[in-house]
Amino acid sequence: MMNDNIFASEMSGSSNVPENKISKFPVVNDGKTWYTLIIFSENLAGVLNQITNVFTRRQLNIESLNVSPSGFKGLHRYTVTCRSDFETMKKVVKQIEKKIDVVLARFYTEDHVYVMEQALYKIETSKLIADHDISKAIRKHEAKIVEVNATYSIVSIEGLPSDIVELRHILRDHGCMLQFVSSGIVAVTKSSHEELNSFLKVRKLQKEAITED
C-alpha cells in the first residue's frame, strides 16, 4: 500500500499533550527524535529481513523491534523504534511500504502513540538487602520484586521505556545488576481513526471490482 500520508500524526486528532510532559523515551542529546514505526505485513516468510534491510542500508540503528500477530487474521504487526530525523523517516517508511508483502507502514512521534515496554532485572540479593536505595528506586518506578532467593532477585517492570532505562541506570550504578532484558517497545496509535481497517475494507471492494469484470 502506498500513499503520501505515511506520517500519520496529521490524522490523529488532538492528543492533549500536557505541557512540560515527561518524555516516554530515554533522553539522548544527539539532536535526533524518537520515532515509532508501526508496520503490518502479510504472514509470509522473509518480510522481517526486508524491513530491517531498509534500516541497514541507511546505517540506521533499530532501537527496539517487536513482532507479533496483529488484530487481523493473517497479518503480522511490527513495532520498530528508531532515532532519526523526520525526512529520513519519511523515506524509510516509504521504502518499507514498497515491499510487496508489506500492507501498511506508518511512523509516529511519541505524542501520537501509546507505548509501553516490559523488562526484567536480575540483581544480587545481598546488595538489595544492604543498600536501601535499591529498593527505594524499585518502588519509585513501580516495579515488582517477583522472586528473591539467597543469591539473586528478579525485578519486573511494565512501563514507559524512559522509566525502564532510568531504573536500569540506577541498578547498574549500584553495582547489583546481573542481567537485564526488555521486551522491546509495543505501541498502539492514539488516533480515533483505524487506518488499517479502512484500508482493508477499500482493498476488499477493489478486489471484488476486479474479479467481477
Binding site: N3, D4, A45, G46, Q50, N53, E97, K98, D101, I210
Partner: protein, 566 residues
C-alpha cells in the same frame, strides 16, 4: 477439476499461460527435473542455451527492454543462481521486468548445506522486487502468476522463484491461474486531482520550463502523451540515459541527454529554468551532479508511479503520482498553448558551442585515428536511425548515448543504474529475440566484450543476428579517462593486451572485419548491415580519447568541461 501434473509441468503450463515463448537458461542438478519436462515443451517454449547464467539474466533484460514483455531465466541452484545476481540487481535498479526461476535442493535438505544449496531468497531479496521459495507443487501456479504480475506491473522489476527439487517432481492439481490483485501491493498509486491542477498551474505560470524525460515514459507506453504534453506548452525536454528513445532525437523540443556526459544546453539550462518537470525518472546522481545546488532556483514537478521516489533525492513542489499514460494527458488538457520561443532560443548558443568544440571533431574528424563518435553515428545513419542500440558500459556507452539517434521507442538497451560491464553482448542476444524484426547493434569496449565473451557461443548456436561493434582502444577506457583527469595520468591497470578478435570470431563462425582507416569505415559498416545474421566489426579507436562534455563528480551540473586543458 484440473489435470494432475508434476510441479515442473505446472511451471511450463503456467509460463505458457503468461504468454512466455522464449526463455534463457542453463541446466544443472537441482533444476534437471524441470529441464526434463521442458524437453516435451520445446514446440511451445523456445529455450535459448546461454554460456553463463549472467548471460541468461542480461539476455532476459534485453528481451524485456525491447519487447515490453517479461524476460525469463531458468537456472540451477547454487552457482547457477548466484551467477544471476548481477542481472537481477541490474534489472532492479533499471526497472526491468524479469523472472528468474532457479532450482533449489529438495525441501527436506534445506538448511543442511546440501550440495549446491544457497539461501536464494535472503540473498536476492535486497536486490529484487519479490523473491519466493516454492516448496510444494501445489504452489507453483500461484507463485508463477504472482511473479509475473509483480514483475510487470507498476514500476517493473525482477522477481526470483526458488524452486525446490521435490516441488518440481511432486504432483498437484493444475488449474490455470491469473493473479491480478495483491492486497498489500498497489502497483499504480491513486492520482490526486489537486496535483494535476497544481502541476498545470505551475506549468502555465512558468516562463522557462524544462522537462526531464525518464524511462518511465516508455515503461508506461506514454511516448505519444509526452509529445502532446511538451508540444502544447512548447517545453524543451532532455532525456536520461534510459529515457533516450522516449522522444525522437531530432524532435525540435529535444535538447539532448541530461547529466554527467549530457548535452551542454540541457545541463546549463537546468540551472536557469524556472520550472523543472521530471517524468518517470529518479534524479540519479549521474543526472543531478551536486545535489545541494541542483536547480535550486526552479520550482519542481515530479511525475512518477513509485511514491518512494518522490522527494527521495530532490524535494519537489508538486508530485503527480500515478501512471503517466493518464496523468500526462490530464495535465496537458489544462495547459495553455505556448511557444516559449525566447527560452528555446537560449539553448542555441550552447548547442553551437558543443557542436563546434565536441561533436564535430567526434563525428567528422579530418585526420588521426578513428573516433568512437564517428563510428557510432555512421552505424546509426546506415541503419536509418531505426536500430536498437545496445551498449556495454564505459566510454562506448556514453558515446553511443550521445551519438546514436533514435526514431522509435524502446530502442535503448543499456545498464544505467548499475553500470554493469559485460551486459552488452548477452543483452543484445536477448534483444534479437524480443524484437526479431529490428536490427540490433551492440557497441562494446574491449574490456566489456571480454567480460561475457563466451556468449559468442550462444550467438553462433542461435544464429542471433547481433551486429557487434567493438570499439577497441586497448584500454579500460572509461577508467583510464578518470585516471587521466583525476589521478595524474597514473594508468593503474587500465592498459590491456588484447587477443586477436578476428580469430575469435572465426572460431565462432561469426563474420568479422576490422576497420583502421577512416576511408573504409562506411563500406565496412554497410557490409555489416547487409550481411544477414551476426557480425563482428572491430574498429581501431583512438587510444586516449575522452568523453566530453563532462560534469566532474561533485560539481554543479552546469559546470561542464568541454575539452582537456592544453
Amino acid at each position: 477439476m484440473g489435470k494432475i501434473l508434476s510441479g515442473g509441468q505446472i511451471l511450463m503450463e503456467s509460463l505458457i499461460n503468461e504468454g512466455v515463448d522464449t526463455i534463457f537458461g542453463y541446466p544443472g542438478g537441482a533444476i534437471m527435473p524441470t529441464y526434463d519436462f521442458l524437453y516435451d515443451y520445446r514446440d511451445r517454449i523456445n529455450h535459448v542455451l546461454v554460456r553463463h547464467e549472467q548471460g541468461a539474466s542480461h539476455a532476459a533484460e534485453g528481451y524485456a527492454r525491447v519487447s515490453g514483455k517479461t524476460g525469463v531465466c531458468l537456472v540451477t541452484s547454487g552457482p547457477g543462481v548466484t551467477n544471476t545476481v548481477t542481472g537481477v540487481a541490474d534489472a532492479m535498479i533499471d526497472s526491468t521486468p524479469i523472472v528468474v526461476i532457479a532450482g533449489q535442493v529438495g525441501a527436506s535438505l534445506l538448511g543442511s548445506d546440501a550440495f549446491q544449496e544457497v539461501d536464494v531468497v535472503d540473498m536476492m531479496q535486497p536486490v529484487c522486487k519479490w523473491a519466493y521459495q516454492i516448496r510444494d507443487a501445489k504452489d507453483v501456479a500461484w507463485a508463477v502468476s504472482r511473479a509475473f504480475y509483480i514483475a510487470s506491473s507498476g514500476r517493473p522489476g525482477p522477481v526470483v522463484l526458488d524452486f525446490a527439487k521435490n516441488a518440481q517432481v511432486e504432483k498437484a492439481e493444475y488449474e490455470p491461474m491469473k493473479v491480478n490483485f495483491i492486497r498489500s501491493y498497489i502497483p499504480v498509486p491513486e492520482t490526486d486531482e489537486e496535483s494535476i491542477v497544481n502541476a498545470a498551474r505551475l506549468i502555465n505560470q512558468a516562463e522557462r520550463p524544462l522537462v526531464l524525460v525518464g524511462q518511465g515514459v516508455e515503461l508506461g507506453y506514454a511516448t505519444a502523451e509526452l509529445r502532446a504534453f511538451i508540444e502544447k506548452a512548447g517545453m524543451p525536454a532532455g532525456c536520461t540515459l534510459l529515457g533516450l528513445s522516449a522522444l525522437p532525437s531530432d524532435h525540435p523540443l529535444n535538447v539532448g541527454m541530461l547529466g554527467m556526459h549530457g548535452s551542454l544546453g540541457s545541463n546549463k539550462m537546468t540551472q536557469k529554468c524556472d520550472l523543472l518537470i521530471a517524468v518517470g525518472m529518479r534524479f540519479d546522481d549521474r543526472i543531478t551532479g551536486k545535489l545541494s545546488t541542483y536547480a535550486t532556483q526552479a520550482k519542481k514537478i515530479h511525475f512518477d508511479i513509485d511514491p518512494s521516489e518522490i522527494n527521495k533525492n530532490v524535494p519537489v513542489d508538486v508530485s503527480v503520482l500515478g501512471d503517466c499514460k493518464t496523468t500526462l494527458p490530464a495535465v496537458t488538457a489544462l495547459l495553455e498553448k505556448k511557444e516559449h520561443k525566447e527560452w528555446r532560443e537560449a539553448f542555441r548558443p550552447y548547442d553551437e558551442e558543443e557542436n563546434r568544440v565536441v561533436i564535430e571533431p567526434q563525428i567528422h574528424p579530418k585526420e588521426g585515428p578513428l573516433r568512437m563518435g564517428e563510428v557510432i553515428r555512421k552505424v546509426s545513419e546506415l541503419t536509418q536511425n531505426k536500430a536498437v542500440m545496445v551498449t556495454d558500459v564505459g566510454q562506448n556507452q556514453m558515446m553511443s548515448a550521445r551519438y546514436f539517434k533514435f526514431t522509435q521507442c524502446r530502442s535503448v538497451v543499456t545498464s544505467g543504474g548499475m553500470g554493469t560491464m559485460g551486459y552488452g553482448l548477452p543483452a543484445a542476444i536477448g534483444a534479437t529475440f524480443g524484437a526479431p524484426e529490428r536490427t540490433v547493434c551492440v557497441f562494446l569496449g574491449d574490456g566489456g566484450l571480454q567480460m561475457t565473451i563466451q556468449e559468442l557461443g550462444t550467438i553462433m548456436e542461435q544464429g542471433a543476428p547481433v551486429k557487434i561493434i567493438l570499439l577497441n582502444n586497448n584500454y579500460l577506457g572509461n577508467v583510464r579517462q578518470w585516471q587521466q583527469l583525476f589521478f595524474r595520468r597514473r594508468y593503474s591497470f587500465t592498459p590491456m593486451l588484447n587477443p586477436d578478435y578476428e580469430k575469435i570470431a572465426e572460431a565462432y563462425n561469426i563474420p568479422c572485419a576490422t576497420v583502421i582507416e577512416r576511408k573504409d569505415l562506411e563500406a565496412e559498416i554497410e557490409k555489416m548491415v547487409n550481411t544477414p545474421g551476426p557480425y563482428l566489426l572491430q574498429c581501431a579507436i583512438m587510444e586516449e580519447d575522452n568523453v566530453f562534455p563532462m560534469c566532474f563528480p561533485g560539481h554543479d551540473v552546469d559546470d561542464m568541461v568541454l575539452k582537456l586543458e592544453d
